[in-house]
Symmetry: C2
Subunit: 230 residues, 2 copies
């Protein structure tokens, strides 16, 4: 991968945006009537002092941020992490993966690996184990990190750990309609909730097949880009 | 790793905290006089409607969240990602790594790998390349993800990519006092800004040594825990 030119282009683009902002809006931008794809739209007031915020490019910065017009606090917005596991059952004749059918939006009724937003004060592995317990009531032995998938248009990074399912005493949590074991042939590929889950499952079954010839499971990284960025 | 018991204990602990909160504060907690380590302290007002927020445990949740008393919006707080690179120069007699001396707090004057907070709408690799350009002006070819380090007490996850430095035409950015190449023997171990950087450098030089016997660079994951959690 060659990022030199790309990083430079991106940097120049951001500086251009910054310049246009400064010229048109005299540094301060209040209540913009347009949306910027790298800004979450919802911030209106300062969470520190309740005064209105405005979009500004702070000194020594290249991106518009929500800045309080009263106290000057800059409210940064950053991507969130989704952490989950690939619960693997190897005690039957054929290997199986545990999937959950979503009881919540988005993608209500579709199948997913147990996963959810990482919480403050936990590690990525703790978060993956917690989500597996909450959504599938599954007893697992967490193994190595298996996949990292960027989803930049929704400001998310998804991480999945391999996990050995210890027993079949699992049960749907409040966010799942049902939880069920699937062999590779049984996976409902057209009813998978998210592309990050589809890709992780495909990587997993590829590595599982390769493991039968003595190869170790790998670590996989992929960017899920919107068609316009591909 | 066996997470079954741990996840269960953590879940029970959270349910206990939730119960104590509900009993003592009749579900709603306004202006708490104590701090919770998994809550960022700064939120006072709703960023949607400017009314005061209070700490509450929403239905079907187990953690206190900032909830608006007026419009009911739940303001979730999640860990942030720090992304960076390990710029590696292999054209001299001895291999060298590019480090930056910090011009900003925290850890002003200490040495670090180029890294910073991941931004919305970028991938982890794009963020790592951007930070390398911004802090070190370095032209790199980004390679595989090398380390993932959890720092749960500050709600952060740090990711470092291996990177091949393409030339010596680098220069300190606004957040760096100076940037400089170091051989392994020259690394200022006592003046490294963050434990995540120290561990990543140690992993890197271990893998570099192993690579001379034909072994490939690996992927390393580590949790940096406070002494009380170790």
């Amino acid at each position: 991968m060659q990022y030199t030119g790309y990083a430079l282009t991106k940097q120049i683009s951001l500086q251009c945006i910054a310049l246009i902002y400064r010229v048109i809006h005299s540094i301060e931008i209040t209540r913009p009537s347009f949306s910027l794809h790298f800004i979450d739209p919802e911030m209106k007031y300062c969470s520190d002092c309740a005064h209105p915020v405005s979009l500004q490019i702070p000194p020594d910065d290249s991106r518009p941020r929500y800045v309080c017009q009263q106290c000057g606090v800059i409210h940064y917005q950053n991507p969130k992490m989704v952490v989950g596991s690939i619960p693997f059952w190897d005690q039957d004749e054929e290997a199986k993966i545990l999937l959950c059918r979503r009881a919540i939006e988005p993608r209500h009724g579709y199948w997913t690996l147990p996963a959810g937003f990482m919480e403050n004060s936990e590690t990525t592995a703790e978060g993956a184990a917690r989500e597996t317990m909450e959504e599938a009531g599954a007893h697992i032995e967490l193994q190595a990190l298996f996949s990292l998938l960027n989803v930049p248009h929704v400001h998310q990074v998804h991480l999945f750990y391999r996990a050995r399912l210890l027993d079949k005493d699992f049960a749907a949590g409040t966010e799942s309609l049902e939880v069920k074991l699937f062999t590779e042939a049984q996976i409902p590929w057209d009813e998978i909730a998210f592309p990050t889950v589809t890709h992780t499952l495909k990587f997993f079954f590829e590595d599982l097949a390769a493991s039968r010839t003595g190869k170790e499971f790998g670590f996989h990284s992929l960017d899920i880009l919107k068609p316009m960025r591909q």
